[in-house]
């Protein structure tokens, strides 16, 4: 099957093999960048509207008091996943997310950033202590983290691959008209999967950064260094904006 195999296209510097997934990822990135640049010069309002739409989706999914630190990660995750799910409707293109390596990379980014946001919000020691609050829950939590990563990756990969595969199989049997309907179905599933991945990442992050009552007392006493740096940076940025 042409959809499943990922051959090596070029070899960089004679040592780094580049598979076709990477090339399609570059094309997707270029497409997003080009579209954003074109929209920025032609219709800036539309760009703003798209951003407001993404912020609205994230605002529904998360219940945190300040949404700003999470918008760059989750918004770019959503836009990239959406584009790479939908890019297979262009002939001779394959979705980068139909390769398990891309989806595992995305899931690892999500899981590690959940922990990093939790550590920034609560302080590293407080956050890590929650994993072993009764000590026998530690293996269960670790297995939970692992299976969360695996299920994030496999859900996206399986959905996108099955959509592409069904279109390819039907195309090899009936090349006219009928693949259009299945392409529509796979497009709907791709949009839904991008939405679901972003919403799940938002839910994980908001469950990692939510502060319990007894934790907030600890938080007041020792403010973590990273958070102070973060706040200072933002204050500097705000001052710079007001000056200019």
């Amino acid at each position: 099957m042409d959809v499943i195999k990922h051959p090596i296209v070029i070899t960089l510097f004679g040592i780094i093999p580049i598979r076709d997934t990477v090339v399609y990822t570059w094309i997707t990135m270029g497409l997003i960048l080009g579209l954003v640049l074109i929209l920025k010069f032609i219709k800036p309002n539309l760009l703003e509207y798209i951003l407001e739409l993404i912020i609205g989706i994230l605002d529904d999914a998360m219940d945190v008091d300040d949404l700003h630190p999470y918008i760059p990660l989750l918004g770019s995750l959503m836009i990239f996943t959406l584009f790479s799910n939908l890019i297979s409707i262009i002939p001779r293109m394959k979705s980068p997310t139909a390769d398990v390596n891309t989806t595992i990379a995305l899931a690892l980014i999500v899981v590690f950033s959940v922990h990093i946001y939790g550590m920034i919000k609560k302080g590293p020691w407080t956050y890590l202590k929650e994993f072993a609050s009764p000590i026998f829950m530690l293996p269960v939590e670790l297995i939970g983290q692992f299976s969360r990563t695996l299920s994030l990756a496999m859900r996206l990969f399986g959905n996108v691959l099955s959509g592409d595969l069904i279109v390819a199989i039907v195309f090899s049997i009936v090349p006219y008209l009928i693949p259009i309907a299945l392409t529509a179905v796979s497009m709907v599933s791709g949009i839904l999967q991008a939405f679901v991945l972003t919403t799940l990442a938002a839910l994980f992050i908001s469950s990692a950064v939510e502060i319990n009552e007894e934790d907030s007392k600890v938080k007041k006493e020792k403010d973590s260094g990273i958070m102070r740096l973060f706040r200072k940076n933002r204050k500097d940025m705000a001052n710079g904006e007001s000056k200019s």
Partner: protein, 92 residues
């Protein structure tokens, strides 16, 4: 049946098992998705104000249920296109 070679037997069993697995593995999650949609629609009909939240929750839970059938699909794809048993016992 005696004159079947082991490779043919493995391929035969794999194909039959794949068919049964994809049948059962799509039937039950689809039934459960139907139940989820039914309950969400009942809730939307009873309280139209809460329809957006219900729709979002329904989409997320249906995607999570869909994961089960996707796992079945992945196992079936591995069995059909990259069968580890054949390469393991007969050297590809």
């Amino acid at each position: 049946m005696e004159n079947l070679s082991p490779e043919v037997l493995i391929i035969l069993v794999t194909t039959v098992v794949s068919g049964i697995a994809i049948m059962i593995g799509t039937m039950i999650p689809t039934y459960m998705q139907g139940k989820a949609a039914e309950k969400a629609l009942e809730g939307m009909a009873r309280q139209p104000d809460a329809a957006p939240q219900l729709r979002t929750a329904m989409l997320i839970s249906m995607a999570l249920i869909e994961t089960a059938s996707i796992y079945v699909l992945l196992v079936v794809l591995v069995l059909l296109f990259a069968n580890p048993l054949i390469t393991r016992f007969f050297g590809g």
